[in-house]
Each structure stands twice: as structure tokens, then as C-alpha cells.
Symmetry: C2
Subunit: 443 residues, 2 copies
Amino acid sequence: MTTKKRIVIVGAGFAGLFATRTLAKHNVDITLIDRNNFHTFTPLLYQVATCALDPATIAYPVRTIFRDNENVHFLMGEVVEMNTAEKLVQVKTNGTIRPVAYDYLLLATGSVTNYFGQKTIEQNSYGLKDLDESVQLRHHILKLFEKAAWVEDGALRDALTTLVVVGGGPTGLETAGALYELYNYVLKLEYKSHYPRLRARVILLEATDRLLSPYPERLQRAAEKQLADFGVEVMLNAAVADVKPDRVTLKDGRIIPTHTLIWAAGVKASPLAEMLKVPLQRAGRLPVLSTLQVDGKAGVYAAGDMVYLEDEKGQPYPMLIPVAKQQGVLAAKNILREIRNEALESFHYDDKGIMATIGRSRAVAWLFYRVQLTGFLAWLGWLFLHLIMLIGFRNQVSAMINWVWNYMTYDRSVRIILDKSEAPIVEKPKAETEPTENIKLLA
Amino acid sequence: MTTKKRIVIVGAGFAGLFATRTLAKHNVDITLIDRNNFHTFTPLLYQVATCALDPATIAYPVRTIFRDNENVHFLMGEVVEMNTAEKLVQVKTNGTIRPVAYDYLLLATGSVTNYFGQKTIEQNSYGLKDLDESVQLRHHILKLFEKAAWVEDGALRDALTTLVVVGGGPTGLETAGALYELYNYVLKLEYKSHYPRLRARVILLEATDRLLSPYPERLQRAAEKQLADFGVEVMLNAAVADVKPDRVTLKDGRIIPTHTLIWAAGVKASPLAEMLKVPLQRAGRLPVLSTLQVDGKAGVYAAGDMVYLEDEKGQPYPMLIPVAKQQGVLAAKNILREIRNEALESFHYDDKGIMATIGRSRAVAWLFYRVQLTGFLAWLGWLFLHLIMLIGFRNQVSAMINWVWNYMTYDRSVRIILDKSEAPIVEKPKAETEPTENIKLLA
């Protein structure tokens, strides 16, 4: 009687989830570890931050996904130590440290926001990499509007309702577009009873001279035009030099008074990569063999955003969901091959193109790096693709109906501020620095 | 030219909301103050706590409700001082204190959980009076199950999955029923991959010898039987003497090991009542004249749970939503009458009966204090009534569809734990007291 091989998968993102799904059908014992009890559908995080979707709509309990797989064990916790010599990880869970032994280990903890070492930016800005951050940003924006409604000082009021997004990539575009929609279709209508009425500005800052750098120039210009037509102020060649709680200073000296800086200007590998004590690549990414094995660490694989692997042309694979999904599946298959003493296979990316949405009916898409789409058609494609992906995870018609309904009707009902006002879990220490003498009783 | 009368309403619960709605159609200037930016549909709080509904489904932004009423101004904040001589309230909002002047003041801040002065119960139990508490309870229960799944010690594991509800009123019954449903239809299926499998107990404690004290005995026994048939352990004559993080001690000495005590055994008036410095009635309720005026305080009215007023038989009106709604409307009308120098009217409660739900297809109802319904018919009545109420507030077909869908399909998808594990905003200090030697590595 042989015992089942123990496979430990760290991270329930796209790579970890697809790997678990692939392995679950086989006679192996899987422990899936994540610090959250849910998988996050990250492409729609910006919709949670902008009140379009409920957190639960894009977060799906891991246990539900693997409800019928009795060989999948879920452990909610964080890996705090890896001992690859003894094939053991230490997991912090419920205030205790639990050792978990493995025969094979798959690391798939993804990426985190990259502030490029700039502490003042990190302290004074909002990221959009997980559900907690998205909910925090939603609370922050709604609170600022509640405050602005009762502020007499015009300059302070305008600063409170100026929302700045940094980064001209897909996340930056989507977020800027969705913020303007939130203002234009909802907030503008709901602060009518105050005089003077609130105006909001949404500013998108990009350090280079173009948005969406990997796209063809025609699509870059189309995205810029669609954003501008819509109401978003796009500022190119606008690198951030410094951020304070109430302003952003650009490298050329310009100052934008704002209390909301959303940092979508870069990501880096999850810090878990550092625990392996191997030399890392740029953005802290963990180099792997083309089989997704970590060189010199027996039984250790890695997949997804945290991994550094070059394609046939010597270019690193981008940190994108399709790459993560395909790597997760290959890593799982290679683990099964290793168990059976079969030859492992190398990773090849089946690349269907890239797309970015700007708002309802506005998007750009570059399919198979041949077909360039803009506007409504591109947006339909974006919508279709995300629906397919959501269904794939959930197998839940009700969730899809809910999401489509919310998305189509623009029912932004998720506008509740749900944090203890005394507990600073959500609020960053921005409010305190504002001069109170500016806040006067509305006449 | 006469200036509009300034009416300040404190509290956006049922009384405050119905008062605002009544006044909004008239030529007055209304400031509605609440510490949340949303109205909470409190009858369904237990469904948020038991993962059946998303917080946003039962919380509706106040600004949306009054979007078309330009004479309604919403101020998010807490009243910290009342000066009825100068007709001024001081509101803590966004870290500053804002004075708000009024011609007429309506107090409608409802009720809070009543621990009857027992500090250890307050510290070691969960309330169900607002959305924050409900979400905290949801997180707490889900975390306990995540923990229990990996605990080897049988006694500790059972304690972690024993959920105790105190109070045999409608809230206690509904909560106990919904907790058992959560276990029976969801959690039981999702912890299958662990051995030994998790069992949960749901225990309902009632200090007297019967549930639902104001109901006829036939309905009391029917409720008890429905709960027991379902799987809830009902313990009558079971008064709580003491609560520790890991156990409940009853007055008769029996001990129930549990990490979850939900206190639904009583409410008292909001502490705002104390700020008026008038003698209060039992449960801290504020005595009012039959016109809902506060005696001796010119221009001050009060309505809803916080108010003490006796009916024709000398019985105080119960702390129920229909009473609050009707009082809110009457207070608003009497304020309008006072402005026009018309005679004020007295409160008379239009009482249609009482009902309580126990779970899907299980309820008891006492309509017009004549018709006694139990089981499916009573439950249909409950469902119908709550739908009508939800629609009344929201005027939003989409919200209703969503809610009905979730409720009917039993889609408990809202099972995400969304709190920073390091931040104790959600977790009460229970976990630490558990002996760590009981937690061993699962074989």
C-alpha cells in the first residue's frame, strides 16, 4: 500500500486554483493554503472600489469550489517559513504556527503593488491588489464626499473631490473610467441638496508619453481619446515626485491638491519569493526552469505573477491572468509527471491577445496581436470574456445573473460605508492633517 | 419673505426615515443626521450574520432615498450634545464638531442591545443590532469553522462549532434557525475533507419557561416544535449566569463549552435619550406626550424604539418597526401642525399583529391578535410582508429580485472573511484563551 503524495499549494489565485483543479482529479492529497478563505476575481477589483459590485460578487469561497473534492484540504493561513531541505512549510493560522509537510510544493502567491521603494507614496496612496484594499478605497472616497458636502472652503472642497489615478496601464484606465462613472451617474445626483454643488475631477497620470505601452499606437490614441471624451483628465509625461495626504507633486513641479491617490503604476512579486533564499529577478520575481521547477529545490514548483520565465524571444512572460492559469495547469501536470517518473514539459504561452476597458461601452482590444478593436465592439468582447471567466469559476448562474444585472443597469447600490469610525482599519491618517479652520458651518 | 423652518432629524432608522419622507414634500428645510450613510433594514440583520445576504442588500444609502428631495440634507455624524435652550445640536462629523441649529428636533435613534449591566456578557458575546455587528458575527463564525477543521482535540473542536443564542424572542428564534440552516445546508458539506468531520450544535437559551412570550400558548409550542424538528436545541428555564470566552455558565450550574454567544435577550433605548437630562423610563426609554413631544422641551419630538409611551390600557408600546414607522409619520405631521399653529394629534397604534420566522418554510404569526398561523403559511406571510417593506424603501426592482433569488435558492455565497487578520476590529479576544497544546498537527 502506497500513501498518497502530499502536494501543498500556496495561494488560491488563478495559478493556484487551476493547479488545484487539475490535481484534484488524481489520487493525490492536496493542501491549499491561502490567507483568505476565498478566491478573488481580481479583474473586477476596481468595480468593488467604485461601488459597482459587492465584495462577495467577486470573491468565491475556496471550500465551495472544491466542495466535491475530498482530497483537497483548505488551510486558511500565511506561510511564514519554508524549509525545502526537510520539505516543510510553517503556516501561521489562527494565531498559532502549524508545520505542513509536503512531497511537492507549488508556490503561487502572485504579486503585490510596487511602490518602487518610495515610502511617502506607499503611505499616502491606495492600492488595488486585493479585496481589502478595494473596500478601503470605496469607504475612503464615500467619506470624502460626505465631508466635502459640508465644507465651505472652495479649494478644500475641490481637493476632497479630486481623484488621482497613477499608471496608464489597463488597471489605471479601468479605475479612472469607473471613478468618473461613479461621479457622473451617481454622486453628482446625490449631493444636489448642498450648495455649492460638488464637482469632481478624475485625473489619470502617466509617466511616459503614452497610455497602454504594449499596445499599437492606434489603440493607445483611441484609449486616450475615449477617456478624454468621457471626462477623465489624462496627463501624459506626468511622473509623480512626492505624495502628501493632501497633494501630489509631479516631477516638473506641478502640484495637484487631492486626498486620493490610487497607485496603479506597477506590481512586483509576492514577498514569499524571498523566503526561498535564491537570487531573484527584477520586480522580485522568482526564476524558474521552463518546467516551472525552482532550480536546485527538489519538489518545488512556482507559477503565476511571482515567477520569472522568458519566452522564446528572451522576453519575460507578462504578469497576466492567462499566463498564471496556464502555468498553474502545467505545474500541476508536471508534478503528476514527476510522481509517475515521466518526462516534464516546458511552458509555452497560448496568447490570445490583450484588452482593456475604459467604461461602459468603451474599451480597446488587440486580439491575437492582429485584430485591433476599439469602442463598443471591444467592450462587448471584454464583457463576454469576463463573463465566461466568472462562470468558469463559479458554475453559478445566480451569481452571473446578479453580476450582469448590476453591470448592465448600472445599479451602484453598494455605497455603504461600513467601518467603525473610531477604528482606523480603513481610514488612512489623511483626514487629520487637513486644516480644521477651513471647515465652517454651511450657511 | 419667511425663511423655511429648519427641522433636524436624528437617526435614519424606520422612525427617522418615515418622518423625513413625510416632511420632504413640504416647504421645510430638513437635516437628517445618522452615523451611517445608509438605512439598515434591521429585520434581516440575522441573514447577514448567517451568510445569507450581502450587507449592501439590506443597507440602502440615505442620499439615494432622498435623491430627488433638494430640501433634505444628509449629515453623516453622531450627536454628542444637545442644547435645547438654544435649539442647537453638536454633531461629531469627520473628526470635527459641527453645531446644527434647529427650529424643530426629532430624536429617533432607536435601541441598542441590553446586557442588563452584566459586563462579562457584554464583553464575551455578539449583538445583532447593526450591520457592523452582523458582519463581525459572520466573520467570527466562519473563522471558528476554519479553525475547528484543523483541531484534533475533540472537545475543543466541538466547543468551536457550538453556537449559542440567548433569548427566546423573534430575533433569537430567527437567528438560531438561520445558524442551523447555515450549518446544515452549507458548512456541513464544505468541511467533508477533514477527519473527523465537523458537527455543529445550535442551542437556543430562554430564561423563562416559554418562547415568544407575547404569543398565545399554541403558537409558542408550535415555534418550539418547529425549531426542535429542525435541529435547534431549545433549552427553556435556562438563564445565563456568566459568560467566558470559551463557555457559558447557566444559573443552575450547567456549563456549555462554546466560543460563540449571541445575545438577543433584550434591547434598551439608545443612549442619546440620556442627553436630554430628563427622567427616563425602564430600559432607558424617553417619556413623551401622546403627541410625541418631549414634555418641557420646546420644539423637541421623539419617536420609535427610544420612546416610552403607554397605550389606552396603560401598557407601553412595544419596540417594533410598525410602531416606529407610525410614530415617525405622526411626529412629522405634528411638527407641520405646530408650524401652522394647528392642534396636534395623539398617537394611536394601528396594530396588525406579530410574526416570527424560524427558517425556510417555518414561522408563526398572530394576525390582528385573532388569526393564528404556523408553518408554511405563516412563513409565506412573513416573506410577503418583508418584500413589501423592502420595496417600499427601495423602489428598486433589481434589489428585490436579487434578494428573492438569494433567499429562495439558498445561495449562501456571502461566505467571505474580509478582515485584516492582524486587526482586531472583528475578532474578539476569544482565541487567545484557548490552550494551544490542544491544537495538534492533523495526522
